[in-house]
Each structure stands twice: as C-alpha cells, then as structure tokens.
C-alpha cells in the first residue's frame, strides 16, 4: 500500500495537528493559515519537494498524540518535547529548538525571582505552570514543594492567575514566553531575567510522526539538515525572536534524547 510519505508527495499536502499555541503552531486569525515555528519549519522543509499545502487540524493539547496515532493527521507540529516515554509512542524528527524554562512575573519582579532556588526558598511564593508540562517536573526536581505549585491547563489561565495574584510566578518554556511577550498585548507582566536553570534540564522540541512512518521522518530529517546548513533555520529562528539560548547543539539527536526509549 501507499505509505504516508508517498501519499504526501503525491497530493502535495500534509495534514498537521496543532493546539493553537503561540509561537509553536497556531492559526493566523486573519488568513486562517497555519503559522508558527513548527508549521514554518515544515513548510520550508517540504515546499521544495512540491508539498506546498499545510492542512491544519486544531485541537486540544491532550488530543494531539491520540489524533496522530489514530491517523487523523500525518504529523504533530505544535512544539512537542522529546522524552524517553514519549518516544515509545511516536517517532520524533531531529530536535529543532532547545527549550529552556523561563519565568513570567508581574512587572518589576516584586518577589525578586531569579530561579527555582528562589521559589523553593520563599514559603509565601506560589508558582504556576502548565499541567503535564516538563516544567512542573523540573520544578519538583529543584525542590519546589508540590503544594506551592498550581497546574493550569493553558497559558492564559497562568497569566490570568498571575494577574489575579493567585500565583507569583508562571514558569513556562522560553519560546512560549518570547511569543507571549512579542506582540505587546500582555501588559503588566514581564520575563524574569535572569532565570537560572541547570542546563541538562532543557528540553528539545521536535515534530512528531507515527512510528510506522519512518520513511517520512527520514525525509524530514534530511530536509531539516539542509535548512540548518543553508541558514534558513537561523532565519526562521530570528523571525520568532529565538537566539543562541534556543539553538540546538549539533551533537544533539533524537536518538540521544530518547535514550532507552528508541
């Protein structure tokens, strides 16, 4: 039978799942087109092969992987982080972005938060994070007690909670924070700078494919390597305000991140 890769190349169209999260992958409200880091990357990677159309399916975060596995989309282009457990379920492309943790606080950083250590040390600080996010696990590993952490289902709830004074700091991923603060709509809050993190905590984001679509992943990896070499990748990073802290070291591969998983 036709593989997913063959079908994509024949139709010139790839179906991707996104969960509408800036900057990872979201629907542009004016054009209705998919935009964001991963969709842009996919477009750049595949357009040369005649795959011009990105058919987007927008859904909840929790439905992304089930949708991929159920064959509802060909790839998830919405900022998934590579972890060994997840590698057992899906096939990740080459890591394309380093995702360090970053914090958002009220303007002026009244509690002077500059790292997990500060959060752990001050008993009156409550921290917010995305539920099921890697950030939450990092925080626990760094000694932030669980009862001082509120896990919200989305970024907006985190921001609302911060503004309402229900939390003192929202720890998110650095690309999310950059995307959030870039359009100038988020008044009254700012990025906590600096925010100390231990380097081996950083995650790496990638596009995910079904495990049986190894050929598609290979094709994508080749294309991604090309984009890296010809500087296109750096250009897209610049577009979204990503710089050196978000760059993936050349030595880093999906295999390494998956460890025993793959």
């Amino acid at each position: 039978a036709e593989t997913t890769k063959e079908r994509i190349l024949r139709e010139g169209k790839i179906v991707i799942g996104i969960h509408n999260r800036s900057p990872w992958g979201f629907r542009d409200d004016k054009t209705g087109e998919a935009t964001g880091w991963h969709p842009d990357l996919l477009k750049a990677a595949f357009s040369e092969l005649g795959v011009e159309e990105l058919d987007i399916r927008v859904t909840e975060f929790g439905a992304l992987v089930p949708g991929l596995l159920a064959g509802r989309f060909d790839a998830v282009a919405s900022g998934l982080a590579i972890t060994p457990e997840r590698c057992q379920q899906v096939l990740f492309g080459m890591p394309d972005l380093k995702v360090p943790d970053a914090a958002i606080v009220l303007s002026g950083n009244p509690k002077k938060i500059h790292g997990y250590a500060d959060i752990a040390a001050q008993a009156e600080i409550t921290m917010g994070a995305g539920r099921g996010s890697v950030v939450a696990r990092n925080a626990i590993a760094m000694g932030v007690p669980q009862e001082r952490m509120l896990l919200f289902p989305d970024i907006e709830a985190n921001i609302s909670a911060l503004r309402a004074g229900r939390i003192d700091v929202a720890v998110l991923s650095s690309p999310t924070v950059i995307g959030l603060l870039s359009n100038g709509k988020a008044a009254g809050i700012e990025r906590a700078l600096p925010f100390e993190i231990v380097d081996d905590q950083a995650n790496f984001a990638a596009i995910a494919f079904r495990r049986e679509d190894g050929d598609l992943r290979e094709l994508y990896d080749e294309q991604l390597a090309r984009l890296k070499a010809d500087g296109t990748l750096a250009k897209i990073m610049e577009k979204y305000g990503f710089g050196a802290p978000e760059a993936v070291p050349d030595t880093m591969t999906a295999e390494k991140l998956c460890g025993a998983g793959e």
Partner: protein
Amino acid sequence: MSIFDIWLGILQGLDVTATVTGYGLLFAVPFALIFGVAQYLAKGAVLFAVTCIIEFWRSSAVIILLFVFYYALPVVGLMLSAVTVSAMVLGLNIGGYASQAVRAGLQSLDRGQKEAGQALGLSRSMILLLIELPQALVAMSPTFVNHFIQLVKATALVSLVTLTDMTFRAKEIAQIEYNPVGIYTSLLLAYFVVCYPIAILGRLLEARISSGRELARGL
C-alpha cells in the same frame, strides 16, 4: 480588539456550535423516544439491556467518549468524521437524559388512559402513538427545553476532536489578545444570545401547557 470585535470573533464558531447541535438532535430525539419508550414497555432481560445502554450514554464522561470514538475507533478501522462523532456522542448523552424524561412522562400518565384505549380496541402501538406519547411529551416539554440548552453548551467540548466551536474560538482569541475578562464576558454573551431564546421558548411552551391545568399556585 474591542469587546464587540471579540464577540464577533467568537460568533465565528457559531456555525460549528449550531451544526453539532443540529445533528446532535438527530441522535438525541430518536434515542430519547425509542429508549424511553422501550424502558417503559420492556420487561426482564430486554429491560435490563435497555437500561444498560441508557446508563452507558447517560453516565459516562462525555470527554472520554469523544476521545474513544474519535481517536480509538480508527485504530480498529472505523474512521468517523469529527462532526459525526461529536453529534453522536453529545446527542446520545443528552438523549440518555431525555429518555428518562420520556419514561417518567409515560409512567406518570393516568392508567385509565391506556385502559380507555384498550377498551376501544386500539392496538398497543396505536395507544402509545395516539394517546400516551402525545400527552407524555407535552407534559415533559419544559424538561426537554432544559436538555436542549444543555446540548448547546455541551458543544464546548468538541474542540477535543478538532472542531472550532465558540468556546474554542474564545481560546484562540485569548492566544492573541490576553484580555481574559473581555474574552470571557464575550463568551458568556455569545452563549447567552443562543441559549436565552431557547429558554424563553420553553417558558412560552410551558405557559401554553399549564393554562389548561390547575396548578399549585396557592403556596
């Protein structure tokens, strides 16, 4: 974006909300009628089976059913569209609730009605269709209006299966706007303009029905 713009933006999700509600009714109404009547008439093993089916749809968590039907069935080769899955799951869930109203309506009818039909030589099915159901449905219509409103609002869950309804539109706009109070106010108003007319319709219906009856207004 002003609140009005946000509100208009949210209303862009109205077509999905309306479509799912509309198709949902296609599932809910027959299910409520057939299973409500079946639970009223059936006995023994059939009754048990009917009750199990109703309880499954009524008591299961809708989110999980949506998940299973959209993301798990394709694994065994059954690929239903998002609208079909949403309409089916939400419709049958509300249909499960409404079936209880149908049954209760039938059970609360005076026994003499059925007997009078029998005495006239009408068959069981004619008694049901011509005598029992018309009275039971009219008596229960306020409840059905309640469930209709619940169906409209239950469509807020369909973003889980890639549909962009009003609630999800609100979340999309929240992505860009970071104006939660404005967005939630608009969302509230968006549902209000859809659901309030239904509630009013229910009141009118009720007034028409109860004008014929003597009610306990003496309290």
